[in-house]
């Protein structure tokens, strides 16, 4: 049974549908990447999982449980963590306070987890007392991901984690994404950097105009001439 499954999901904002029947499956332990041109509905599909969209059709299942149309606060409590592309940290809070907020719904002692997060993202330990608003883009992204990981989520949703980052930070974030996935957390990631993300992904989906275009193993998609022409610059 997949951890997360979108079946034929349609919906959008206001009156207009952006998704016209998108289906995605993420199996246990998988790193799945969604690519596609601008406006294809990649991020929108992710928001659909998190109850941020008006749905007009389809179902969303988490470990077989129907979570279609649940409020964001409920979805978090089910163990789904989502890192939006922008506005994903609290800028006036310190690094450590951001991570603590990530653990907001935990009832138990989160401090051991905090130490684990600092091990995944060593720069954050150094800057833990600093306000996140003063950090670089790459470090901010680390805070955003660390904050989501504080819950030890059943699945992690990442919306373009490398957008706007320098190549050095981009590589670092991809390494970390792989590392988090290797620790057993399934990841669904939307990415613009199709080449690099398909190279680390187990599987990939290509969305075009709010619909599934094709899917397959990361490396197969990477070597597909049609995909290459569409997104990878030949």
């Amino acid at each position: 049974m997949p951890v997360l499954e979108l079946n034929n999901v349609s919906g959008g904002y206001g009156e207009v549908d952006i998704l016209h029947g998108v289906s995605l499956q993420i199996a246990r332990g998988e790193l799945v990447v969604v690519i596609g041109p601008n406006g294809a509905g990649k991020s929108t599909a992710m928001k659909a999982v998190f109850g941020l969209l008006r749905l007009s059709g389809g179902t969303i299942n988490l470990d077989g449980e129907d979570i279609t149309g649940m409020e964001p606060a409920q979805v978090v409590r089910k163990g789904v963590c989502y890192v939006p592309q922008t506005n994903n940290v609290f800028p006036t809070l310190s690094v450590e306070e951001n991570l603590e907020m990530g653990a907001y719904i935990r009832e138990d002692d989160f401090r051991p987890r905090l130490q684990e997060i600092y091990q995944i993202f060593p720069p954050l330990r150094e800057k833990r007392k600093q306000k996140v608003g003063f950090l670089s883009g790459g470090q901010r992204q680390m805070v955003a991901m660390g904050k989501a990981l504080m819950l030890e989520p059943r699945i992690l949703l990442l919306d373009e984690p490398t957008a706007g980052l320098s190549p050095i930070y981009r590589n670092q974030i991809f390494d970390i994404v792989k590392e988090i996935n290797d620790s057993g957390i399934p990841i669904l990631m939307v990415e613009q950097n199709a080449k690099q993300s398909l190279a680390v992904a187990d599987r990939g989906y290509v969305l075009v105009d709010g619909q599934n275009r094709t899917d397959g193993k990361g490396l197969d998609l990477l070597n597909d001439p049609e995909i290459a022409e569409m997104f990878l610059g030949g």
Binding site: R77, N87, N88, F90
Partner: protein, 296 residues
């Protein structure tokens, strides 16, 4: 010494009172994202509840203050539930107008219950100041007001810095949307904000009434200096509001000191205009305030 006795010390006292009110304005603005025009009325309610409690118990204003603070907090929760909650996702302008309506209703309710004539916590009593070093004259109630204000502000600092709810309040002030995605119960944080803001407003109202007297327009008259203080400090920034309150209070009192010649620089009747002038100047030159608050 006249400068200290009649201008500086009263300025500090007034400033502390403004600061307590302005913190609530700033918290509500940061978390609920609207300018609450009924904040002065929360002060009014706190001050009049205290008046009744004094009447029934015969205790000292400070002894019944905690009860008045809790009561005002509960009133604020009720107002929020009935008047603001339905507008939670509406534009700020709509909620601001609602808050204006709430202010009118609350003031009228106070006038119906307690009447429109000015009253006093200690009618007929004249307090003698404590004289230090032969010339420094301090009223004991002023010492109490300023010390209580400091304690309350430290309490707010501790809540915002060290408690989970306080941190979540700051987080929500940064981004309501992200707070919700993080699993923070935003409605719970909204309630905490009202409780804190209203409790502080009640204390400000009681201190002002204790220092002077009670009348049903006092909340309305406090609105301008409280907003001026909140904007001066950077709206949405509770620490800025504390500094802003002190600055506005001092500026108002010091404006009538005879700086040049023997006449007051500004006639005392224009004190209220000082807060307005500071607010307008801030909005022109540095709308984000001293502590870089929110600008729309």
């Amino acid at each position: 010494m006249d400068f200290i006795n009649f201008y500086f010390l009263p300025g500090i006292v007034l400033g502390s009172i403004y600061a307590l009110g302005a913190i609530g304005v700033s918290l509500v603005f940061g978390i609920l994202r609207f300018a609450n025009f009924s904040h002065g009325e929360l002060m009014l309610i706190g001050a009049y509840i205290t008046y009744s409690l004094l009447h029934f118990t015969g205790l000292h204003p400070l002894a019944v203050l905690p009860i008045a603070m809790i009561f005002t907090g509960v009133v604020a929760l009720g107002i929020d539930h009935v008047f603001y909650r339905p507008f939670r996702t509406s534009k700020a302008t709509i909620v601001i107008v609602a808050s204006f309506g709430v202010a009118l209703m609350a003031r009228s309710a106070v006038q119906i219950i307690w009447g429109v004539d000015p009253v006093s916590y200690s009618p007929g009593q004249i307090q003698k100041p404590i004289v230090l070093f032969d010339s420094l004259r301090i009223f004991s109630k002023h010492i109490w007001i300023v010390s209580c204000a400091i304690v309350l502000m430290l309490t707010i600092h501790v809540i915002l810095t060290y408690t989970k709810t306080g941190k979540a309040m700051r987080a929500m002030s940064d981004s309501t949307e992200l707070a919700r995605l993080t699993g923070i119960e935003t409605e719970k944080i909204v309630r905490a904000t009202w409780l804190l803001g209203a409790a502080l407003a009640a204390s400000a109202g009681v201190f002002l009434a204790w220092d002077t007297h009670l009348h049903t327009m006092m909340g309305f008259y406090m609105l301008l200096p409280m907003f001026a203080a909140a904007i001066l400090g950077g709206i949405g920034q509770p620490y800025g509001a504390m500094v802003g309150g002190l600055v506005i209070g001092l500026a108002e009192e010091l404006s009538s000191y005879p700086w040049i010649g023997g006449e007051p620089l500004l006639p005392p009747a224009y004190k209220g205009g000082v807060a307005f002038a500071v607010m307008v100047m801030m909005l022109i030159w540095r709308p984000s305030g001293l502590f870089r608050g929110r600008v729309f």
